[in-house]
């Protein structure tokens, strides 16, 4: 594992971006070429990641080296440095693995789009930024990757820039991410103020040895970790700042798969897992867990009533991210990351299948206009089913293992969280299979003209689906067998501090409970939606509340966006700037002109007036001179 390997791994997508970006005009002729260049770049990174994983798996020490000095001065030094340990290699494999499959899928999906090369340039830039985020050996590098992926998600969401809704969604995503980054930045400053450096190694070491300058007194780490968590909330779409993810579905579907399911949104989980030491010392895990589980439940309830396939998957992602935060919050960092890995695969799979459904249905997303696609698109149907089963926690599939581990350790931390987690698992199973039954089963509600050319997607699209379906199903079994002694825990033990509370109670009982809950969800969905299609308008008050997503967007708009916009337009600009400040400046001018005006009238031109004023002057002067001096 040498620095050259890491540099090649990192720079390959950058080169792909430069080729597609700069030479875009000449590549416009044959789309396939730029598509394959993009995919090849990610393939190179995948190969390097596998090499890195192999050497790490073979017992090599974690790799931590500095490439060059970035911003340095006397009392501070921020370098560009890389760190590859178990956690990083897992993330690398997920990013480059899922990334590569999505790149190949996009070649088919984006066929005929005139911004083809631009699309692949942005996608490669995204992978590059995500790699920086994951590979960095200090918080500043992570922040650089953090903002880089934010930029790429802005570019890709607003990819079809003619669509006003797309560019609005892109702008919304960037700004909400920026709010999160604001917290992240302040967290970094607090850490630097306390430790004098931002490198992971030295911070964790100093934190454990507890010898750092107290900036905010004993609560320094608490404040630092909470601020970093604000960054995570922004990036991984948790409770207050999740509003951008559902709108991000405006972008092309492979983008949603890669960015808004597998990689970018998990950056927050990765950050907390990376700074596990700090969260353990500062005991802020509870806050993370609570926000995680509440987001999970909240998003699941909204997903119940949505009718747009991608919106349902988006809310399901928000909900599953809540689970991951729940995992890392209660100290089960390994299971949190494990769920991240499994989720990356099956959610990526589901988005891609949704993409192929859209592709076939001429970009129609409303499932009320679908139904009975099982017969027309068998492969898409089966792959989607695998994903749905995995996410619903169907026994022995990947979702089951990772979600169960999280719920198990959640029970150890606090029963209430466990109960909410369980209810959310039920809701997840329900809305997933509501989607399956409405779109793939029952009679077809597809319009005749669309129905005529309804066909299975081309091989270049369904082959990656098939490849992705295999790990979605089996990876849970492969990595998670044996609960806390599983291969995955063993592999990541070096990075994470051991869970500070042992998960009591026997494992089998928890597995049985969660699988029962999963199956119940599926059965309930079967009973309700086997024949009936979801009604068009919401029936009762609760239904209407959920359908309108708790009016959160409208609230933000009314409470934050409009007041700022109108406030700054009328109050700040018109009144304060033009009115007061400019008023004073111009006022000075008018006052002087006014004084000039009055003085002018004194010059009457009459000699007598002048003489009188002269004599008056003399009289007054004499009076003063005689009586006062």
């Amino acid at each position: 594992m040498t620095i050259e390997l890491i540099v090649v791994l990192l720079v390959a997508p950058l080169i792909g971006f430069l080729i597609n970006g700069l030479l875009g005009k000449w590549l416009k002729g044959n789309e396939q070429l730029s598509g394959w260049i993009g995919s090849l770049a990610v393939l190179v990174s995948l190969v390097c990641s596998i090499i890195a994983f192999a050497s790490l798996h073979g017992g090599a020490a974690p790799f931590d080296e500095t490439l060059y000095e970035w911003i340095t001065g006397e009392s501070f030094a921020f370098n560009i440095g890389f760190r590859v340990d178990a956690l990083t290699s897992v993330m690398l494999l997920v990013i480059t693995g899922v990334g590569f499959l999505i790149h190949v899928y996009s070649i088919g999906y984006m066929h005929g789009d005139e911004g083809y090369t631009r699309y692949f340039a942005y996608l490669n830039l995204f992978v590059f930024a995500m790699l920086i985020l994951v590979l960095g050996n200090n918080y500043l590098m992570m922040f650089v990757g953090w903002e880089g992926v934010g930029l790429c998600s802005y570019l890709l969401i607003g990819f079809w820039y003619e669509k006003q809704t797309a560019t609005d969604a892109g702008k919304k995503a960037f700004i909400v991410n920026r709010i999160g980054d604001f917290g992240f930045l302040l967290g970094m400053f607090t850490l630097f103020a306390a430790f004098g450096t931002l490198d992971f190694a030295s911070i964790f070491e100093a934190a454990e040895a507890d010898n750092f300058q107290k900036v905010f007194g004993a609560s320094t780490l608490v404040i630092a970790t909470l601020l970093l968590f604000v960054g995570a909330i922004g990036k991984s779409a948790q409770i207050p700042l999740y509003v951008w993810l559902p709108d991000a579905m405006e972008g092309p579907t492979p983008v949603s798969a890669l960015i808004h399911a597998a990689t970018m949104v998990t950056a927050g989980v990765y950050m907390i897992a990376r700074s596990a030491v700090l969260y353990n010392i500062a005991h802020t895990g509870e806050v993370v867990a609570w926000i995680g589980v509440l987001t999970a439940f909240f998003a699941a309830t909204i997903a119940l009533t949505q009718n747009d396939i991608k919106r349902i998957l988006a809310y399901s992602t928000v909900s599953q991210l809540g689970y991951m935060f729940l995992g890392v919050g209660v100290g089960a960092y390994a299971s949190g990351i494990f769920h991240l890995v499994t989720h990356a695969f099956f959610k990526g799979l589901m988005f891609l299948t949704a993409g192929s459904v859209m592709h076939a249905m001429a970009n129609e997303l409303d499932m009320r206009k679908m139904g009975g696609l099982k017969t027309k698109m068998p492969i898409t149907h089966w792959t989607f089913l695998v994903g749905a089963l995995a996410i619903a926690g169907f026994p022995f599939l990947s979702g089951f293992w990772s979600k169960d581990e999280i719920l198990h350790s959640a029970w150890g931390s606090s029963p209430i969280i466990y109960v909410i987690g369980l209810v959310t698992a039920f809701l997840t199973a329900f809305y997933m299979f509501r989607l399956i039954f409405v779109t793939f089963y029952g009679e077809s509600r597809v319009e005749p003209d669309v129905d005529s050319h309804l066909h299975e997607s081309p091989p270049v699209m369904w082959v990656p689906l098939a490849i992705l379906a295999i790990p979605s199903a089996l990876i849970g079994l492969l990595l998670g067998w044996g609960g806390h002694e599983s291969w995955f825990h063993h592999f990541t033990k070096s990075v994470f501090p051991e869970a500070h509370h042992d998960a009591s109670g026997n494992v089998i009982l928890f597995m049985v409970i969660s699988s029962i809950v999963g199956l119940a969800g599926i059965a309930f969905a079967w009973s309700r939606y086997r024949e009936r299609t979801p009604s068009d308008e919401p029936t009762n008050a609760l239904h209407r509340l959920l359908a309108n997503k708790y009016y959160v967007d409208e609230m933000y708009n009314a409470l934050i966006v409009q007041p700022i916009k109108n406030g700054s337009h009328y109050l700040l600009w018109r009144i304060v700037d033009n009115g007061i400040i400019d008023g004073i400046v111009n006022g000075v001018g008018t006052i002087i002109r006014f004084i000039g005006g009055t003085l002018r009238r004194l010059q009457t031109g009459l000699v007598q007036v002048y003489i009188v004023s002269m004599v008056l002057g003399i009289v007054l002067f004499l009076a003063y001179y005689l009586f006062f001096t």
């Binding site: 820039y161 003619e162 892109g170 960037f174 400053f189 607090t190 400040i581």
Partner: protein, 521 residues
Amino acid sequence: MLLSIVIFLPLLGVIAIALLRGLGASAIKGIALVIGLLTFIVSLGLYTGFDTTTATFQNVTQQAWIPGLGTSYHIGIDGISLWLVLLTTFLTPVCILAAWNSVEKGLSGFMMSLLALETGMLGVFCALDLFLFFVFWESMLIPMYFLIGIWGGERRIYATVKFVLYTMAGSALMLVGILALYFQNNNSFDLTTLSGPFEHSHLLFLAFFIAFAIKVPLFPFHTWLPDAHVEAPTVGSVILAGVLLKMGTYGIIRFCLPLFPDAATEFTPLIVPLAVIGIIYGALVAMVQPDLKKLVAYSSVSHLGFVVLGLFSKNPAGIQGSVLQMINHGLSTGALFLLVGMIYERRHSRMIVDFGGLAKGMPIFATIFMIVTLSSIGLPGLNGFVGEYMILFGSFVQGAFSKIYVVLATAGVILAAVYMLWMFQRVMFGTLDKTNEALPDLNAREIVVMLPILLFIVWIGVYPKPFLSKMEKSVGLVVTQVQTEPAVGRAGEQILQDTELALHGTQRAQNEKIEKEAETK
């Protein structure tokens, strides 16, 4: 000698153009460009010859000018002014190239005032004599007055008069300050011999500071900027935003901080809130501007609020960050104005509402505009981030003021993204109507204008080391002068040692002067 050449070469150009005016437009433009490039190349000589180990002034030339008055032609540069000189000599040829065919009437006058402006600006950055500094400071106003007044927009007279009067009011105060210093420095204007506490240093600090705050512009004194920018010709705006605004911040770091450290500490709780208000207020007002140039002008108010915040953080990183941010702002806002100028030449409108979907019609323009926008909102990997990060981090870690201001300033980073991206979306994305469809994309000349700036934007973002190392020692000297208590942190002692060396330098100069006087008595 090299420095004098750099300063007065543009003046040579002015004379050359004045004489050869009859040869027609292309000759004038040719001469101007050659002079501009020549100055830049010669100024690179300054860069290569610059010794980064000491904080003392280099390339110093001192000639007797008006001995009776106690003033001398005393110029020199250090780590800070080196970069500002290079920024000026870099931006001027770019501007000359950008204004190639945008000036119809009075081309020779235009080029002459541009080059005269360059001489004025270079003089300000290199003057080590208060009298000389004031002369250049005032002389720089005249060409700017003509640039805006003659080649400006509709309300140009109002704008240029407001600009000149505002600056003159400030510099009148400064003149009083200079004279006060003159008398307290036994009748000499020499900056290097000025030292030690001055009587009523608070008033003097205020006199200097207000003059510079108007130039920066700091929050309450900023209303001249949007008018000046809107009415100025494209190139005028570029130079105004690129270099003229930096005179204010340069003045603060050259005069206010080192000469009156105690007053600076005392006034920090007053100035820093103004800077933070400037950041937030500038961003909020920029968001709602219908006019592109006004938006960029208000964004300058916001960016320079960061710089002032950094300057008063009394922390090596903070001050270094603000000096770097001066250069970054010069590049990114200069580029923004160039781009706005380019679409103005095509569409003859600056209203955001008139544009839409330009990305489709002008892809190259859109990509360059995107890169410059990202640099201006401080995306990591580009130049804006490095400066802003150092300022915020410097003032947070060991700032001379409470951390709430840093939190508010960091919130300014969000607002920066809001107004720039909203503008970018309304201009670049959306549907393309017929009139915008006909707009041609950037031609070769315009791309050549933008390339060097983009190069620096990426270079400073990715590898700022050469930029930071050159200014490190000079900033260290300023920090020790400002900090009454020794610099905190492990590098503190190290700064102190080599600034001893620097101070001895000035001390020795002072002793010699005293002995000389003793002999003459």
